[in-house]
């Protein structure tokens, strides 16, 4: 057991700290939109100094460093400690870019990666459909080849950022005769192509965090496919695994829990502070213990990635399930300690924390469902983690 990163990283941490200190006053302001010059310039600066797209080759616009998990961790720690803007995120950067690096053609890498990481191309992800949620592989949006073009018809749902995206990476059925997992392809196309309609989907928070996207005879050049025809499912699965754990980072949960502690020290019930109520205090401590377990679990996973010497399959599989449910409960306690004040939302003058307690409470219910529901996670944990058999298929169900 050695929890230090080693003295060889001291110089690197000093370097990151120096960058943070020198630039903390130059980061974009909260109101600057994703296409503003200030945000673009900041992004370019982060990449140039190796604090974004660190391991993406220089030939594709990245910084070109060798992968080093501890260096990445130190950057994240120092930026987080200073509350420094970490640059663009989004599905083009977190999900599409790794796929293109692994499976894209040289032309695709040249065309997309530099612009994507610099925030010049914003992407959305077209996976889920009204009839294909947990059973994603049963998706029916189809693409038929007509000369040199795919012709796409169908509908996607839960498409975040579709209304502001330039391009979409999209799963479509191209081989209707093949078994369902082998008939899907991974296409890339522009969101301003004729025949695409985006409708905002207002959710329980009152915001439109997602959209519905409709395709009617959308014509897309034939070569805008990643991997071969029929391999789209394998491509998508490689990156879905990446998405799951990152939905519920334990350090963010601990940060919210510390927010609940401050809230409990400020809010009063009948003149007494919430923290002095032993029932609330017990709920708080119970959550703290659970978050602590997830933080150390995270360190174990980090160590296993660095040293490649431990079987942490199960420890990794449970992060999405436990992390999202834990976060939902933390937000719930934040509301409960405020009582009626906890109901405040929108323009209510008694609002606390900009309404984040109610918003996050609802948002994390969304994340319990999204990115593979808790029930799907339990299937995965029991089958792949514990080796239990799959539920037998009904005779009437599809292939």
């Amino acid at each position: 057991m050695d929890l230090t990163y080693g003295p060889e990283y001291n110089a690197f941490r000093a370097e990151v700290k120096a960058f943070v200190d020198a630039n903390i006053d130059q980061q974009p302001k909260p109101g600057d939109g994703p296409r503003s010059p200030a945000v673009r310039a900041w992004q370019a600066k982060l990449i140039r100094n190796g604090y974004h797209s660190r391991t993406i080759p220089e030939a594709y616009g990245g910084y070109g460093a060798e992968p080093d998990i501890i260096q990445s961790r130190i950057i994240a720690e120092e930026f987080s400690a200073a509350q420094m803007n970490t640059g663009f995120s989004g599905q083009g950067i977190s999900m599409l870019t790794p796929v293109l690096l692994e499976l894209g053609t040289e032309a695709q890498k040249q065309q997309f990666i530099r612009k994507t990481i610099h925030g010049e191309l914003i992407w959305c992800q077209g996976y889920s459909e009204p009839g294909a949620g947990s059973d994603l592989a049963s998706l029916t949006t189809k693409a038929e080849l007509d000369g040199d073009e795919w012709v796409i018809n169908g509908q996607k749902i839960w498409t975040s950022t579709a209304q502001i995206s330039d391009w979409i990476f999209c799963l479509v059925r191209t081989e209707p005769e093949a078994p369902k997992h082998l008939g899907i392809s991974f296409l890339l196309f522009e969101m301003n192509t004729p025949g695409i309609e985006v409708r905002p989907l207002v959710d329980m928070t009152g915001a439109a965090n997602f959209n519905e996207v409709f395709f009617t005879d959308v014509r897309v050049p034939k070569d805008q496919i990643v991997g071969q025809r029929g391999q789209g499912w394998q491509v998508a699965n490689a990156i879905l695994g990446h998405e799951r754990g990152s939905l519920a980072p334990p350090d963010a949960a601990m940060s919210r829990l510390n927010g609940v502690i401050r809230l409990m020290q400020q809010e009063t019930i009948g003149g007494a502070r919430a923290i002095d109520n032993p029932v609330f205090r017990d709920r708080l401590m119970r959550l703290q213990g659970r978050v602590m377990a997830m933080q150390y679990n995270d360190m174990r996973l980090l160590s296993a990635r660095i040293n490649q010497n431990q079987d942490t399959k199960l420890a990794g599989m449970v992060v999405k399930l436990i992390g999202t449910e834990l976060r939902h409960e933390i937000e719930c306690l934040g509301i409960d300690v405020m009582g009626e004040i906890g109901l405040s939302y929108g323009d209510n003058p008694y609002l606390r924390g900009n309404g984040s307690w109610q918003y996050q409470y609802m948002y994390f219910l969304g994340l319990i469902i999204g990115g593979g529901t808790s029930q799907i996670q339990k299937n995965i944990i029991s089958e792949r983690g514990l080796g239990m058999p799959k539920e037998p298929k009904l005779a009437t169900s599809g292939a």
Binding site: M1, D2, A293, R300, L321, I322, L386, P389
Partner: protein, 354 residues
């Protein structure tokens, strides 16, 4: 950076697990349940493996390992619901004696010549009329639920958290076995009437060191016992057939097992860190220990109940023996501080209690 067990720790765990599987199977546990004194030959075997001196420095005849190693061993003993006084004799007593600077008894403990009981429950949460009074260096009073009814001596706390050594055979000492649900370890009422006692320390911090060590190892015992119950549930569900299918293929059963695994697996890292932090004096060691024991008590209780349910009616019988694990987990929950008391202590450590 290395957050995990070393090769040596994994080998240690494997070798003890092999020994327990061969030498202390469930039938041996049943024999101890019938006759508590049958735990002595089991303990003797474990002392030959070095377990009594596990955390005692080599200079005093021990193995000289740390609390992370103790946690690894504790998990293995919990997995096999091994009877005997490991927690009291091998963990808490040496921790207390070392912290008190009283090293002259360590060699006898390491050699397996002494079983040392722990009568500290009045320092955690005194019940009824338990408690000790001191006059002229002699102790009068009673301790409830002292660990190990067959110890050669006890470490007893006085009214101001000072610690005394009391020989079991000394004048004025009477012990009564207190029957509990858990038959794998014994508890007793220790009554002292003007009993001779040797003051070990009057520094109240020493008691805390012993409690911390005991709690983290107790938590690892629950982790091991719960892991075994989960493994048994998965194995049973994989062979039990109903409606022409193994019940492991029913989603309702799979999800019960997935819930057990997903709550239990992150506990491993929490326990490891607790043991490591105590050994190294890292922050936040005491907070981690309080949370580790409280959290493990909750998770293990959930696993104990859920695993029994996966076994259906058989889980409720004596035949399968699952209840020995259920009861061990239940006992661990109450001993050395229930989850509610420990969470309040965690709040106090952070100065959240007015």
């Amino acid at each position: 950076m290395e957050f995990g067990l070393s090769q040596e720790q994994i080998l240690l765990q494997d070798s003890i697990a092999r020994y327990l599987k061969d030498q202390v199977p469930l039938d041996e546990v049943r024999a101890v349940a019938e006759d508590p004194e049958r735990d002595q030959p089991i303990w003797h075997g474990l002392t030959e493996l070095g377990l009594a001196g596990l955390i005692i420095p080599e200079a005093h005849g021990g193995v000289g390992l740390g609390l992370l190693d103790a946690v690894v061993v504790g998990e293995t003993l919990g997995y096999h619901i091994t009877p005997g006084p490991f927690l009291s004799t091998a963990i808490m007593a040496p921790s207390l004696l070392i912290a008190a600077g009283q090293t002259d008894r360590l060699a006898d403990i390491a050699a397996g010549r002494y079983r040392v009981g722990i009568a500290l429950s009045e320092a955690v949460g005194a019940r009824l009329d338990a408690g000790m009074a001191v006059s002229d260096g002699r102790l009068t009073g009673k301790a409830l639920f002292a660990l190990d009814a067959m110890a050669d001596a006890y470490i007893v706390n006085g009214p101001n958290r000072q610690l005394y050594w009391v020989d079991s055979e000394g004048p004025g000492v009477t012990r009564t076995l207190l029957t509990t649900i858990d038959k794998t370890r014994t508890l007793c009422e220790l009554k002292l009437d003007q009993a001779e006692a040797t003051l070990l320390t009057d520094d109240p911090a020493v008691l805390q060191a012993g409690l911390d060590a005991g709690r983290i190892v107790q938590a690892s015992d629950s982790l091991g016992a719960a892991q075994c119950m989960l493994d048994q549930a998965v194995a049973y569900a994989g062979q039990r057939e109903q409606f022409n299918r193994v019940i492991a293929s029913f989603q309702a059963v799979k999800h019960m097992c997935a819930e057990m695994a997903s709550q239990l697996e992150p506990c491993r890292a929490l326990i490891w860190y607790g043991g490591h932090a105590l050994s190294e004096g890292n922050d936040p060691a005491r907070l981690t220990v309080c949370h580790a024991k409280a959290h493990l008590s909750e998770v293990a209780q959930f696993v104990a109940r859920t695993s029994t349910e996966v076994h259906g009616g058989m889980g409720f019988t004596d035949l399968v023996g699952l209840h020995y694990w259920f009861k061990r987990i239940g006992a661990n929950r109450q001993l050395l501080g229930s989850p509610e008391l420990l969470r309040e202590e965690a709040a106090r450590i952070q100065m959240l209690v007015a």
